[in-house]
């Protein structure tokens, strides 16, 4: 079977893409208006929503970048992953109920619209929509580039596709993504997320088994090999050290409730009380799929330092090297399909919220107008955003990956105080929200673009988020509260 490895992997990915297109066609019949297109009609079940939440959280980074960092820095990498357990708790306790209630009361279709309703300020909501757009484009560009590069590498292994260019890979990946997002909107997005989530969990569990059997002594032997090479790499802080890991933990855990592509899913459930079951299911799915991150990361570091495998010229190749060398071809096929699933499940969410921001939020919040034939324009805008992101990914090269690193922190700075804290604190006002975002972006921009390294590699996003939250509280306390709608005010206390 080994000689057919490339064909089996290619077959799995082809089957996965056909499935995405089929879901898009099926969802097209269920997408009748913009409420369906942006919010899946707000009638999603618990299982589908929970899969969408965890699949959106676990992007391609968890399948490629995460194991790569574990190879490079040892256990330091796992602080990004373990932070999600407390992060999801914070997200659901602060937002699980309130976002859904406010969306139901004000009939909001997006997070910026929720902000506008909460602060009774179209300007604040509009600013959030504007803040969202660059992040969406950059994050989307990173995802599209990752898909194209992975597909290009895979096709090189097949004799009859080895001459295919990277441009064609961009075209194929974008076409599949755009097809199901345009036809089925958020309905297609969440139902593909559901299937993608199942593929990710299945792939992760199979990888866990394959990794455990790579060396005779399993993970214990691998841990001992790594410890003999460098004890710190296998201890809790890894090679990056205590402060660096704790600051990563801070920004990742607190930042979850500021990720628009994740929190927007909380507004889509059929009933407000569904959030009760969403939390355990979402976190369970995430932890199961994150097993791949740990398994491949530890295995590849152990086999390389133990001289069982050649050193990797690129740490991000840890996953593909493991799958090529230590996994059954069928498993490799499922995992590569899982990788595409992880990337696409994040990308489709960004396409959707980007289209909502341009077609729905900006005209309504900044110009007090509603576009006629909104559904048609939403579909057109989805295509335009995807093409724009693909062009950015193609021409900007390394800059995109660098900016992609900013994504999580940038969204956290923009949405954690304004949404997660603002929806729980009546005293919060629009001046506090706007100034905190400006202060956070200002500090983060200076640290990031000037290349300033904080002591002990303290994460610049964590520092900026702390600034943002402090400014938000201080300004809100120092200035009078806003006059907001009575029913919204009451809802904040429910």
């Amino acid at each position: 079977m080994e000689e057919y490895r490339s064909y089996i992997v290619f077959g799995c990915i082809l089957a996965y893409m056909v499935m995405c297109i089929a879901v898009g066609l099926w969802a097209m019949r269920r997408t009748k208006d913009t409420s369906d297109f942006f919010m899946a009609g707000r009638h999603l079940g618990v299982l589908v929503t929970s899969a969408a939440v965890f699949a959106s959280t676990m992007s391609g980074f968890g399948f490629v970048g995460g194991p790569g960092i574990a190879y490079k820095h040892g256990t330091s990498s796992f602080w990004m992953m373990i932070s999600i357990s407390v992060g999801m708790c914070i997200m659901f306790f602060l937002l699980g109920k309130r976002l859904r209630l406010l969306a139901g009361l004000t009939n909001s279709l997006s997070v910026p619209e929720i902000v506008a309703s909460r602060y009774k300020s179209n300007r604040t909501g509009g600013l959030m929509a504007i803040a969202l757009l660059p992040g969406v484009l950059i994050y989307l560009a990173v995802q599209i580039k990752a898909m194209a590069v992975v597909l290009f590498d895979l096709l090189q292994d097949l004799s009859w596709t080895s001459s295919i260019s990277i441009e064609w890979c961009f075209f194929i990946c974008c076409s599949v993504l755009v097809f199901y997002c345009v036809t089925g909107g958020m309905v297609a997005s969440v139902y593909t997320d559901f299937i993608q989530g199942i593929i990710m969990i299945g792939a992760a569990l199979l990888v866990f088994y394959a990794a455990m059997t790579t060396l005779d002594g399993g993970f214990t032997e691998m841990a001992q090999i790594i410890t003999q090479d460098d004890p710190e790499a296998m201890q809790p802080w890894g090679t990056m050290g205590m402060i660096s890991c704790l600051s990563i933990y801070f920004i990742m855990a607190f930042g979850v409730c500021g990720q628009p592509h994740v929190i927007s899913k909380l507004m889509m459930t059929k009933k407000p009380e569904d959030s009760r079951h969403l939390l355990p299911l979402s976190l369970g799915g995430f932890i199961l799929s994150a097993v791949l991150w740990v398994s491949i990361g530890i295995t590849m570091r152990a086999v390389v330092v133990g001289d069982f495998h050649l050193p990797l010229a690129n740490a991000d190749e840890a996953s593909s090297a493991f799958l090529t060398q230590y996994a059954h071809p069928l498993l490799a096929g499922v995992v590569f399909a899982g990788l595409f699933a992880a990337i696409m499940s994040t990308a489709d969410s960004f396409l959707n919220i980007g289209a909502a921001a341009i077609v729905h939020d900006l005209p309504k919040l900044l110009f007090n107008r509603q576009i006629k034939r909104e559904l048609m324009w939403a579909r057109i805008m989805t295509v335009i955003i995807a093409v724009g992101a693909a062009l950015i990914a193609y021409f900007a090269e390394d800059t995109v990956a660098m900016l992609g690193v900013m994504g999580w922190s940038a969204f956290a700075i923009a949405f954690v105080p304004t949404v997660a804290l603002g929806l729980n604190w009546r005293r919060a006002n629009r001046l506090g929200a706007e100034l905190s975002v400006l202060a956070g972006f200002g500090v983060y921009g200076i640290l990031f673009f000037k290349g300033i390294e904080l002591p002990f590699k303290f994460h610049p996003g964590a520092f900026s988020l702390l600034v943002t939250v402090t400014v938000f509280f201080m300004v809100s306390l120092a200035t009078p509260p806003d006059d907001i709608d009575k029913d919204v005010e009451e809802l904040l206390e429910l």
């Binding site: 490079k72 820095h73 256990t75 796992f78 373990i82 357990s85 407390v86 708790c89 914070i90 306790f93 699980g96 209630l101 009361l105 993970f219 214990t220 841990a223 410890t227 003999q228 460098d230 004890p231 710190e232 790499a233 296998m234 201890q235 809790p236 802080w237 090679t239 990056m240 050290g241 205590m242 402060i243 660096s244 704790l246 407000p272 009380e273 959030s275 009760r276 079951h277 939390l279 570091r301 390389v304 050649l310 050193p311 990797l312 010229a313 690129n314 740490a315 002591p455 002990f456 590699k457 303290f458 520092f463 702390l466 509280f473 306390l477 029913d487 009451e490 809802l491 206390e493 429910l494």
Partner: protein
Amino acid sequence: MKYAPVIAVLALLWLAVFWIFTTDHPPDALGYPHVRAELAQPEGATKTMMFQGGIGRDRHIQVSLAGMFFGIVTLTGFSLLIAWGCRSRHASQEIAAFFWNLMVMVAIVLVGAFLTMCTVYQSSWDRPFEPHYLGPFPFGTTLMFLGICGVPVGFIVLYVLFYREFILPTRSLARFNELVAARESAAEKDDVIA
């Protein structure tokens, strides 16, 4: 006084950051390229592909107290945020004390797991190449997975079990439906007038 916990947590976080930023550290404390050059920068690599941490005591001794302080304040702050999210006007008063005691217990266990992990890690400094194992990993690393990642499951259990009493009580849900109905009828009236 109502905002004292928030101000206290923010102040303590800034104090922790100030403490960390004003602490010295040896040049290699944040990791250095692997001593085997073929692992650090193999053929074809343009930058360092594998790092080492070195001697735990040397790299962490100066900052371990500040780091533990930062970790405790962070986890306490997160627990307070989670508790803050439980507020509801119609929350059950009968079992409130029981519920809040359980919340505090989970928070204490979370902070306790963190402190135990730090202590176990520091105890491995004497024999770094022969750490105690718990399951397949060194004791501290297992505590990282089971403690820091695992203990928040306690919050989830409380969220699921006490959802109707504290997160979204039945009276809150009923009031929400009334508010939605009132807004819809007001919108209908506006339409008629228009």
